[in-house]
């Protein structure tokens, strides 16, 4: 990789410790969710007051359909839409997207790279590939951890097909792609690392808040279509046992559009500190 795709290697090499820590954090966190689900049934967990959880809690169960958080798919889905999971995804995406262009411009290292026979398309392609690989690693870690938990727990396994776990993992990767595109566009146009990290966090945090508000408050319901969390529905994938292709298409399509925009912006800009 170092000789053939040096920019991809460089991006991953420079963030290797952060990525390792995030992967470990993801495994520990998802293992904890599985242990909690296996120890106390979701129905008991959310019915202490004699009532079920409010419908808006579907935002936390990773469902845009009818999967309640007070169910095994809902609880495992909550582990895949939890703010901790989101924070880890945003950290990886924000950091690597910032390093793709903006951080090199900010630090001045872009001069050394781009005076060589490196096209802007290649710069963007290798740096995007690094992001996709990082997102793949994070989501694979989460998926394999949840899959191991499902296989080891008969109660969970009865409610959640193993195919649903991998489908949720695919949706997770689609969600990451949905954020990677706009983050790369900001990086391609930006001159500061902080701009990219800030924009990535804003997209993630605002997206989650919009989805929750849309589910909780009727008049705001149409807004849910603007949030990536409306389409990223791991709870539904876990319950149905398959990938939700239309939603995945929207997530991936948004990501691809963002990358195309990044390409246009990068082609036109000056590349110097």
């Amino acid at each position: 990789m170092k000789g053939q795709w040096p920019l991809l290697w460089l991006a991953l090499y420079r963030r290797r410790r952060m990525l390792a820590a995030l992967i470990i954090g993801m495994v520990v966190f998802e293992a904890l969710i599985v242990v909690v689900a296996n120890t106390i049934s979701p129905g008991q967990l959310f019915s202490a007051g004699g009532k079920g959880p409010p419908s808006a809690y579907r935002a936390f169960s990773g469902s845009s359909g009818g999967v309640s958080i007070a169910s095994y798919p809902g609880l495992l889905g909550a582990g895949l839409t939890h703010p901790f999971w989101i924070a880890m995804q945003l950290t990886a995406i924000g950091s690597l997207a910032a390093a793709a262009v903006a951080a090199d411009v900010e630090s001045g290292t872009v001069e050394l790279v781009m005076v060589r026979p490196v096209s802007r398309t290649r710069l963007l392609a290798e740096r995007t590939a690094a992001l996709v690989l990082a997102a793949l690693a994070l989501n694979l870690a989460a998926t394999l951890t949840v899959a191991a938990g499902v296989v080891l727990s008969p109660d969970i396994h009865r409610a959640v097909p193993i195919g649903g776990v991998f489908a949720a993992g695919v949706m997770g990767l689609g969600f990451a792609l949905c954020l990677i595109g706009p983050a790369m566009a900001v990086s391609a146009a930006g001159r500061r690392r902080a701009q990219v990290i800030g924009a990535t966090i804003a997209i993630g945090a605002v997206g989650f808040a919009v989805n929750f508000i849309a589910l909780a408050w009727g008049p705001a319901a149409p807004l849910r279509f603007l949030s990536p969390f409306h389409y990223y529905a791991p709870g539904d994938a876990l319950a149905e046992g398959g990938v939700l292709w239309p939603q995945l298409g929207i997530l991936v399509g948004t990501g691809v559009l963002g990358i195309l925009l990044a390409h246009l912006l990068l082609r036109r800009r000056d590349l110097a500190p």
Binding site: L7, Y13, T109, E111, L112, V113, D270
Partner: protein
């Protein structure tokens, strides 16, 4: 690549919003020439070099490097280009050797001169094994010179290359430049240090406030360089008329006066001035910012044939 000039700028203008970095700069550097690009800090040298290397898009004008457009033909120009940025920034976590490996992988060219350059600049294997984040400025600059020249490019563009180098390494660097010139390579050397350019370059362009002031041979430049004459009077009368020497705009401080005089007129000026009650006199070459640029302060663009 063409057989024409190595570098050709025609009316190059680069604007940053309302700020003009380079203004209608026209310049030609022949193949095999060692060409100096001289000017004070902020004059527009780095902006020009970045336009040459394809990092910046000109706002107006035409840039040709090795006969090609450095932006649209970047993939054809860049393999033959070696560039040392003015403020060299490296990836701090990479070792020196990893940095050179990375940059040669991006260059996609063999690096026949790496070993020799590292030896001559004192970059030992032990030094190259250390992360560059721990390098001194001089060490980074040495690494920058190696990465710019390790693939033996046709055109070497160096922005303030001797910054941070000790005198011994500077000597080695100037020897390397001489060898590059002897081998027919084209070198564009940007600097704000006049003697550095005089030592290595055949011709020099002077730029100030983004505009070309003059292009001259180094011999012509040396001829034009002013001398600073300082006189002290001991009679306590302070400023006084200096006759013909008034045309050199004397600058008085108490009983002391300073004049910038073209070299060809120094002897005559001294004869006239020393007929007065002078207690002390010194004559020295004027600094670039104070004297040389002053000579061209109101000068139109001039270029030697």
């Amino acid at each position: 690549m063409s057989d024409g000039p190595a570098i050709e700028l025609t009316g190059l203008t680069k604007r940053y919003g309302p700020v003009v970095g380079v203004d209608r700069l026209s310049l030609t550097v022949g193949t095999g020439e060692v060409f100096g690009f001289l000017g004070p800090n902020g004059a527009g040298k780095t902006t020009t070099l970045r336009c040459l290397t394809g990092l910046l898009r000109p706002s107006e004008g035409r840039v040709r490097v090795l006969g090609l457009d450095p932006i649209t033909d970047h993939s054809r120009v860049a393999p033959h280009l070696g560039y040392l940025p003015g403020e060299l920034r490296l990836y701090p976590e990479l070792s020196g050797a990893e940095t050179l490996d990375l940059l040669s992988a991006l260059q996609e060219a063999p690096v026949p001169r790496r070993g020799e350059l590292c030896d001559r600049l004192g970059l030992t294997p032990a030094v190259l094994a250390r992360p560059v984040g721990g390098y001194s400025r001089g060490m980074k600059q040495k690494l920058g010179l190696v990465q710019a020249m390790q693939h033996d490019p046709h055109l070497v563009v160096l922005d303030e290359p001797t910054e941070g180098l000790d005198p011994l390494v500077q000597d080695t660097f100037f020897t390397l430049l001489g060898e590059a010139a002897a081998a027919g390579r084209t070198v564009l050397l940007s600097s704000h240090i006049l003697p550095e350019v005089q030592r290595t370059c055949g011709r020099v362009a002077i730029i100030r406030d983004g505009r070309l002031v003059t292009v001259q041979s180094v011999a012509g430049l040396r001829e034009a360089r002013a001398r600073r004459i300082r006189l002290s009077f001991a009679d306590g009368q302070g400023a006084r008329p200096l006759g013909d020497a008034e045309r050199w705009a004397p600058h008085w401080q108490g009983d002391r006066v300073e004049l910038l005089v073209p070299p060809s007129e120094v002897v005559g000026a001294l004869r006239a001035l020393l007929s007065r009650p002078v207690a002390d006199v010194t004559v020295e070459e004027a600094g670039l910012d104070e004297a040389f640029m002053d000579l061209y302060r109101n000068g139109a663009v001039r270029e030697e044939p």
